[in-house]
C-alpha cells in the first residue's frame, strides 16, 4: 500500500504567521491578570501595616516610596487599568458585539491607549495632591 499521507502539504504552518493585536492583547490580559494576582500581596501588606500601627506603616510606605517600589506600583497601576479595559472588552464581546476583525483590532489599540492614558492621569493626580 502506498503511503498517501507522506506527501501531503503541511498546512497550516503553525510557525509562519504574524501576531495580531487581538492575539497580543489576549496574552497581555492573561499576564496582567496573573500580575494582579501577585499584586494582592502588596495590597494585603499595606493594609496589615496600617492596621499594625504607625511604625510598620512607615516601614511599608518607605518601601513603596523607594524607586523600585514606585516602579512596581506604576506597573501595578498599568496592569490594573489594562486588565480592567481588556475585561470591559470581554464583557462587550460576551453580548455578541464588537467581534468583527476591524472592530476587535480597534478595541485592542484602544485598550493600550486607554490604559496608558489612565495610568499617566492617575499618577499625575497622585503627585498633584501631594502637599
Amino acid at each position: 500500500m502506498t503511503n498517501v499521507s507522506r506527501n501531503r502539504p503541511l498546512s497550516p504552518h503553525l510557525t509562519v504567521w504574524r501576531p495580531t493585536i487581538t492575539y497580543v492583547m489576549s496574552i497581555v490580559h492573561r499576564i496582567t491578570g496573573v500580575a494582579l494576582y501577585a499584586g494582592t500581596l502588596l495590597v494585603a501588606a499595606w493594609l496589615i501595616a496600617a492596621a499594625s500601627g504607625p511604625e510598620s506603616f512607615e516601614r511599608v510606605n518607605a518601601l513603596f516610596g523607594s524607586l523600585i517600589g514606585r516602579l512596581v506600583l506604576l506597573g501595578y497601576t498599568w496592569a490594573l487599568m489594562h486588565h480592567m479595559l481588556g475585561g470591559l472588552r470581554h464583557l462587550v464581546w460576551d453580548t455578541g458585539r464588537g467581534l468583527g476583525k476591524y472592530e476587535s483590532r480597534k478595541f485592542g489599540w484602544a485598550t493600550i491607549a486607554g490604559s496608558v492614558t489612565l495610568t499617566i492621569l492617575i499618577w499625575i493626580a497622585g503627585f498633584a495632591l501631594r502637599s
Binding site: G33, Y37, A51, P54, G87, R130
Partner: protein, 126 residues
C-alpha cells in the same frame, strides 16, 4: 444530532458538572470589580501621601471600610476563578493539577484573611 441525553442537555452543565457557573461568576465579579477597583485606585491616589493617622481615620469611616471589604472579596473571588483557568490550561498532570488548584484556593484565602482582618480592625477604629 446531539449525543447527549435530554436531561444532560437541559442541565447544560458539560463534563465538569459545573459548566456555565464558573464563566458566570467570572463575569459577575468582573462587572463588580470595575466600580470597586476604581474606588480603590482613587482612594490610593487621595491617600498616597497620607500619614498613618489619616489613613486610619479614612478607613474608620463605615462606608469606606465596607467598600474596601467588598473590593477585596470581589477581587479575590475573581482572581481565584481566573487563575483556575490559567492553571487548567498549563498544568496537565491530574495529580499536579489538583495540587496547584488547592494552592490557588489556599493563597486566595490566606491573602483574604490578612487583608479583611486589617480592614475590619481599621473599620472598628484601628
Amino acid at each position: 444530532m446531539s449525543m447527549r441525553t435530554p436531561l444532560s442537555r437541559v442541565r447544560g452543565l458539560g463534563s465538569a458538572h459545573e459548566g456555565t457557573d464558573h464563566f458566570w461568576r467570572q463575569r459577575l465579579t468582573a462587572v463588580a470589580n470595575i466600580p470597586l477597583m476604581l474606588f480603590f485606585v482613587i482612594f490610593l491616589v487621595r491617600y498616597s501621601d497620607a500619614t498613618h493617622a489619616e489613613v486610619v481615620a479614612a478607613l474608620a469611616n463605615p462606608f469606606v471600610a465596607v467598600v474596601f471589604g467588598l473590593m477585596l472579596v470581589s477581587g479575590l473571588f475573581h482572581m481565584r476563578l481566573g487563575m483556575q483557568i490559567v492553571l487548567e490550561d498549563y498544568v496537565h498532570g491530574e495529580g499536579a493539577k489538583i495540587v496547584v488548584l488547592m494552592l490557588n484556593t489556599f493563597f486566595t484565602i490566606a491573602v483574604g484573611a490578612v487583608a479583611l482582618f486589617a480592614v475590619l480592625k481599621l473599620g472598628f477604629g484601628g
